[in-house]
């Protein structure tokens, strides 16, 4: 078969919503796009543990501490599901991790913001995980089988993350004046970075169209962003708090909320490494990896030795 024939069969499958599996023929660009997107997503889960780990020892109760540990464990798990999905495309986990550490691969820039108070754990759960879920639910139908299956698992587990976050804020919102202020302050700081999590506007997102044609993406950045904003405007009322956007207003004609301009300058700055915590986050990752090197080597040496002993036992028997 010639290349155009392969490509036609491939696109036909996509058009009929037949999933692509690892050993199926696929265009190089499709493979590359997937590796980039899935590994970036995996890195985000792994780096995403850092801002929260900061609060495990400072959680206000045993219940909150246990919850936070479980959430951080989930994130490690999500990272592993995703690395595993990306590896089916022929790129090793080591290579992906090396790309993260060298700065070649990106992770979600939301994790380059600091977690200053306990309320930030609530705001991250509600807004950051909320935005992530909005992005991830359509990915459960992505055209690449292993990715879609990983996303199904992840979405099931993320729901707890968002709910525990909202509960933290709800508790604070019913607390003392100082706690209410802390709650509002966290929302103020996390709102815009969360809105930016959906990526550049559709007119500035050149790869989106191809990703939609390949059914890796099902909705555009702006569609998902709008959906997120519409949902949050209603949810924030239950907290008795406000979102830090004076332009938020129901638009009867569009049947959506209008919102104020997004500071894309800040977005680009943080992506390009100049956010408040970029250096700290990456340094923490690299250090954890390097500090763990001897453990990985020792485990391998132990496994090899044991296999060798087993072989000798078998010979002797």
């Amino acid at each position: 078969m010639s290349f155009p024939e392969y490509e036609k069969i491939f696109q036909d499958k996509i058009d009929q919503d037949i999933r692509i599996e690892p050993k199926d023929w696929m265009p190089d660009a499709y493979r590359k796009t997937l590796v980039r997107q899935i590994s970036q997503h995996a890195h985000s889960e792994i780096v995403g543990m850092l801002p929260e780990a900061n609060w495990i020892t400072r959680a206000p109760s045993l219940k909150r501490k246990a919850t936070l540990i479980a959430k951080v464990q989930d994130e490690a798990g999500h990272g592993l599901y995703l690395y595993s999905a990306a590896e089916t495309l022929g790129t090793g986990r080591d290579e992906m991790i090396a790309q993260l550490h060298s700065g070649k691969a990106k992770y979600s820039s939301i994790f380059n913001y600091p977690t200053l108070t306990w309320a930030d754990m609530g705001a991250i759960g509600w807004l950051v995980d909320g935005a992530a879920i909005m992005n991830q639910v359509p990915l459960c139908r992505a055209s690449y089988g292993p990715y879609a299956r990983a996303m199904v698992r992840i979405c099931k587990e993320e729901s707890f993350h968002q709910r525990q976050g909202f509960e933290i804020l709800l508790t604070l919102s019913r607390g003392s004046e100082a706690q209410r202020r802390m709650c509002q302050d966290a929302i103020d700081r996390w709102w815009w970075p969360s809105v930016m999590m959906f990526g550049p506007g559709d007119d500035a997102s050149p790869n989106s169209e191809q990703s939609m044609r390949w059914k890796i993406k099902r909705f555009s950045n702006d569609e998902l962003r709008q959906k997120f904003i519409d949902v949050c405007v209603e949810q924030v009322k239950l907290l008795g708090m406000r979102l830090p956007d004076a332009d938020l207003k129901w638009n009867e004609e569009r049947q959506h909320y209008d919102f104020g301009p997004i500071d894309w300058e800040e977005f680009r700055n943080v992506i390009n490494g100049n956010g408040p915590c970029n250096k700290e986050r990456l340094a923490a990752r690299v250090q954890a990896h390097e500090d763990g090197a001897w453990v990985r080597e020792a485990a391998m040496a132990h496994a090899k030795k044991r296999a060798q002993m087993q072989k000798e036992d078998q010979k002797a028997a």
Binding site: K23, W25, G77, Y81, E87, R93, D94, E157, H302, R306
Partner: protein, 101 residues
């Protein structure tokens, strides 16, 4: 299964993980992970794939030992079953009055 034979730089091989979700059901492919040996693969699989009681039994097998049919030859490979509709019960045209069959 779905993977090429990928080894970590530290030498940890890749393992495919199969999980039985409850007694009476088959083990089902859940995904893969890296581990130094089988015992570690089982423990890691517990932590990665059964944090919410999704399993009561885990199988692990090193990915390099899995052989798979070739998707490019799927048409000819599964061709023998294509024209044998008579293997299905619905192929047989029987009167509606016939009960319990």
């Amino acid at each position: 299964m779905e993977n090429k034979n990928i080894e970590d730089r530290s030498g940890w091989p890749l393992w495919e993980i199969f999980i039985r979700s409850k007694q009476g059901l088959d083990h089902k492919h859940a995904g893969s992970l890296h581990a130094a040996d089988a015992a570690m693969a089982i423990e890691n699989a517990r932590d990665v794939y059964t944090r919410r009681m999704e399993g009561i039994s885990i199988w692990v097998v090193e990915s390099k030992y899995i052989h798979a049919s070739n998707p490019d030859e799927a048409d000819s490979f599964y061709d023998p079953a294509n024209d044998k509709v008579y293997r299905h019960p619905t192929f047989y045209d029987l009167p509606d009055e016939l009960k319990h069959m």
